[in-house]
């Protein structure tokens, strides 16, 4: 029972930190609202674009490479999901698990090498 309480209290602390992290900006911005001036004018509310009048919407088409890198990230991030428990339990698993993990990582590395050869990793 005590262990359960310690466990729950520790996650309660994490929740408290979340509350504090959200409360500080909210409170500070509210206090700022009481202090700061508010003198609106049309020119102030235009979008900044190096001194010229902004033309057409700024949600432009962006480089597809961002998307490809995001895909690569997902692959390797999932790999870490498998690597972390393996590393923690390495003492109990031993050499057999090491070889298995090596095969797993090499399979993913082949993917990385393929992407490399296809010039996906080159940022132009």
């Amino acid at each position: 029972m005590e262990l359960l309480n310690v466990y729950q209290n520790n996650y309660l602390i994490v929740f408290v930190f979340l509350c504090l992290g959200v409360l500080l900006p909210v409170v500070a911005l509210y206090l700022g609202k009481l202090l700061r001036p508010h003198v609106p004018s049309d020119a102030k509310y235009t979008t900044y674009e190096s001194g010229i009048e902004p033309f057409h919407d700024s949600r432009v088409q962006f480089n597809v490479r961002y998307y490809i890198f995001a895909l690569m990230f997902v692959i390797f991030d999932v790999e870490t999901v498998f690597l972390y428990p393996w590393a923690v339990a390495y003492d109990k698993l031993g050499i057999f698990a090491l070889v298995e993990m090596l095969i797993f990582v090499i399979m993913l590395l082949i993917g990385l090498v393929y992407a490399w050869k296809k010039k996906v990793l080159r940022w132009i």
Binding site: Q8, V14, L24, R36
Partner: protein
């Protein structure tokens, strides 16, 4: 007393006490940020053969940052008409909240720490990744071309360098057999992990600079091409929270490096054990912060293409090799 508190069943009273203690830590962190910014400006000033701030608050400019914060507080808040208003308002909060949340599991000394959860290291990495959303949302909601590009760059850079960052600590986890930060420190009694894991440390350090968006990897906010990156349209206190998040991360990352690689609060030699752990932690922590500032004033900014290629083609294979090298050494010699 704290032991009893932790063992009592959780309720509103506990919540209140934790809240007060957390608020104290928040004040400490804000104090660090205030003087960390001043220290950065002073150190960079002297490295560039000038004085840095020396007007407000005496010769050392001790009140410079306080004055800056007051100025930001009194500045008019402008939300552009074209911006996506709800997202624009919520983005700084999303960027800031995780930066403070990661401190919940940080063991500063054996006594002074908050949550002691089993997956402390994983918690840090997982939660710190959330800030990317804040930056991307801020850039997208601004409806500004520079901001969008800056936000996209920030996201691409942070996810690319998160992989080596995550992989490089695996060596430490292999040697410790735990993700708990306290156990990682306890394991370093006979040798810090910076000595046992030199490759892992170097990869981690480089990746951490990119995660912190600091020079030489400050592409997301490079002034000369993107004006200010994802926070072009932000002004006053909303902008301040993006900056605050950046410096709280500097605090958190320096603390994490101290804990994971530099032995936390442990003294370097057992003879020096009479000096309290807090002093050792503060010393190591200050050294790490100084090195970050030093690098900032020494290196020029990377080019965007070099940055991405370096992360994927150099750091990732090296980090992967380090994992298996460590595993092999561990099963052969330990």
């Amino acid at each position: 007393m704290i032991e009893e508190l932790l063992q009592s069943s959780p309720g509103w009273a506990n919540f209140g006490i934790f809240f007060l203690l957390g608020a104290v830590l928040l004040l400490i962190v804000l104090g660090f940020v205030t003087y960390g910014i001043l220290a950065e400006r002073k150190v960079m000033g002297y490295m560039q053969l000038r004085h840095g701030p020396n007007q407000v608050g005496g010769k050392w400019g001790l009140l410079q940052t306080v004055a800056d914060v007051l100025k930001l507080l009194l500045k008019e808040d402008i939300i552009p008409k074209a911006a996506d208003r709800p997202l624009f308002i919520i983005a700084p909060v999303i960027a800031f909240a995780p930066s403070f949340m990661v401190l919940a599991t940080m063991p500063f000394t054996d006594k002074f720490q908050f949550a002691d959860i089993g997956v402390g290291l994983l918690y840090y990495i997982a939660v710190s990744g959330l800030t990317t959303f804040g930056m991307l949302l801020g850039g997208w909601a601004s409806n500004n071309k520079y901001a969008l590009l800056g936000g996209m760059r920030a996201a691409a850079q942070m996810i690319s360098y998160e992989i080596p960052l995550v992989m490089s600590v695996l060596g430490v986890i292999l040697l410790t057999g735990s993700l708990n930060l306290n156990e990682i420190v306890a394991k370093q009694e006979h040798g810090w992990f910076i000595l046992l894991q030199p490759i892992g440390f170097i990869v981690f350090f480089i990746a951490s600079i990119a995660e912190l968006n600091r020079t030489p990897f400050d592409l997301p906010e490079s002034e000369n091409e993107l004006v200010a990156g994802y926070h072009v349209e932000y002004s006053g206190f909303r902008w301040a929270f993006f900056m605050l998040a950046e410096y709280v991360y500097l605090f958190a990352m320096s603390a994490l490096i101290t804990v994971v690689f530099l032995g936390g609060w442990l003294p370097p030699l057992a003879i020096l054990g009479f000096i309290p752990g807090a002093v050792w932690f503060a010393l190591k922590f200050s050294v790490v912060v100084f090195v970050y500032i030093w690098l900032r004033s020494t290196f020029p900014r990377f080019r965007a293409d070099r940055l991405m290629e370096f992360g994927w083609k150099v750091l990732l294979p090296v980090a992967l090799a380090n994992i298996f090298l460590t595993a092999l050494i561990k099963s052969l010699f330990f």
